[in-house]
Symmetry: C2
Subunit: 311 residues, 2 copies
């Protein structure tokens, strides 16, 4: 097994751990359609709120069908989460964000409810973000990537190396808007350079940590920068930026100092630009498949009941 | 459902048709490990050769364990296929290629046997090829792709539009060698322009036709060409080449004149270069996942018997 393949199994640890079945976790449905996956410890806590969650005979957990609107569902789940937070039931809720996340059956579908971002991993809700590979063809260093070291104050992955710009999609922002906003806040990229921002696809992977489940999709952008441009942080979320030649990036991603869940976007860049290829990775197609696992196809359960109104 | 998503379901029709299960088809194993999938009509024919194929109690078909070497397995399967060809049992064997295809458990694993390329789809053996997106930033047309129309004499997809250069990997050729060889034979690209050839990853999809099953992986290359270069064919396999602006490519791929199984590579190019993005395809992540379905993970059956020597 190559180093790259090992890394791909690490950020896809939930996809590979063989626990993605009904014995270990339950599909979580809203309005008759699957939106997430719940581990046993979360199922146990949820079953103490039968007015909010109900389990059907096949073992699937649904939000109670009496909760018929976006507002009702959001308010009731927020109430439950606040209680869990108070009870210190789940470590992830210590990092309460006061920033909400929309829950949908598919990315382009209408939102069914919102919940605090810190709770999404308890329900195995797919999370979407944007990441920008900032790169330059440097006259001395050759092709190089701008990496950021995350601030020590960040609630997740403090002090770890990360792609130049990264941010979660939250309520009310489009994908491109989020990319532009984060590029300005995190790296102070001026508008005339952002004109070169190019959409380059997405990566999908399924990570698990002590906090919970992370079925993540990142919208990937490439931004070529002039060799003399230096990003600087405006919002306090970045410690430092460093311009790292590609051959060093290909070593740093394997260190514990690199944020595991940022590796898919970095690997995707290295593959798309030819630095990882069939010569240095004999299992290239398998590696590429592991950067795009079928998250949207995995969440395919629906209840036998007719779906409830999703307004 | 968007046009792009519909197209992705078309070239992934076997992945979606719900027949990828033991009731409709059987895993095909060699040396205790899965290398393919057999549909009922092929299982029926194979069972008439119990000295070559055997079905175990769980319904999996294996090559007979008494066939212990690459040479023996290749010779015996060739014998069976010649008989089936004579009996006109399967339409795909009418296109006998006299060109062999290596069968392996994974792309980087040692070959277990070889068989004629026309028979690979009967056994649902993963097939690998290379495709080159030849493009130019044309002063008048803007970003444009060179497409080829396949010769009417080709055994498969005659007369259909295709990517500039495409070829299957066959015995004894590396991925990059195949790309260079095909670029020279199919499009007469001179060596100094081929120096720009850049590996850009791979696509994986699962197509089904009347001929059989096509779990295909294409190694994808990009080649930027000068605006005044015109490819011409040297081996009789191409009818004409045409330089097509990207916006027209994005229409042509939906026509019946475009080779269905070449769409994944074209779509991957359009996504990597930002022409298909979250603005014009709200389900971009799902589309990207469908260009990289987990073919290598799908073929994961192994027999309870200990594996036989794979020499």
């Amino acid at each position: 097994m190559s180093k790259f393949m090992n890394l791909a199994r690490k950020f896809n640890c939930f996809y590979f751990n063989g626990k993605c079945d009904l014995q270990h976790c339950r599909p979580f449905l809203v309005c008759g359609k699957q939106v997430g996956v719940m581990q046993a410890r979360v199922v146990e806590a949820a079953c103490r709120h039968p007015d909010v969650f109900q389990m059907d005979s096949s073992g699937m957990i649904s939000m109670h069908p009496s909760l018929t609107t976006y507002e009702e569902r959001s308010a009731r789940i927020n109430h439950v989460l606040s209680q869990w937070k108070e009870e210190r039931l789940f470590v992830t809720l210590k990092g309460w964000r006061n920033e909400c996340y929309e829950v949908r059956t598919g990315f382009a579908d209408p939102p069914l409810l919102k919940m605090d971002r810190s709770a999404a991993c308890l329900f195995g809700v797919r999370q979407y973000g944007v990441e920008i590979n900032g790169y330059t063809r440097h006259p001395q260093l050759g092709m190089s990537l701008w990496l950021q070291r995350r601030a020590l104050s960040k609630p997740t992955w403090p002090g770890k190396w990360d792609n130049m710009v990264a941010g979660g999609l939250s309520v009310g922002h489009s994908v491109l808007d989020t990319a532009l906003k984060e590029a300005e806040e995190e790296a102070s990229i001026p508008a005339h350079l952002l004109a070169n921002l190019r959409s380059a696809g997405s990566v999908s992977f399924y990570f698990e940590s002590e906090r919970g489940l992370f079925p993540n999709t990142e919208f990937v952008y490439d931004l070529e920068l002039p060799a003399d441009f230096v990003p600087h942080n405006s919002d306090g979320e970045v410690d430092i930026f460093e311009l790292v030649p590609v051959n060093q990036v290909m070593e740093r991603i394997f260190t514990p100092e690199y944020k595991t869940t940022s590796c898919p976007t970095t690997l995707d860049f290295l593959i798309r630009h030819g630095f990882i290829n069939s010569d240095n990775e004999p299992r290239l197609p398998e590696l590429v498949e592991l950067l795009h696992i079928p998250l949207h196809y995995l969440y395919s359960q629906s209840s036998s009941q007719s779906p409830i109104s999703s307004n």
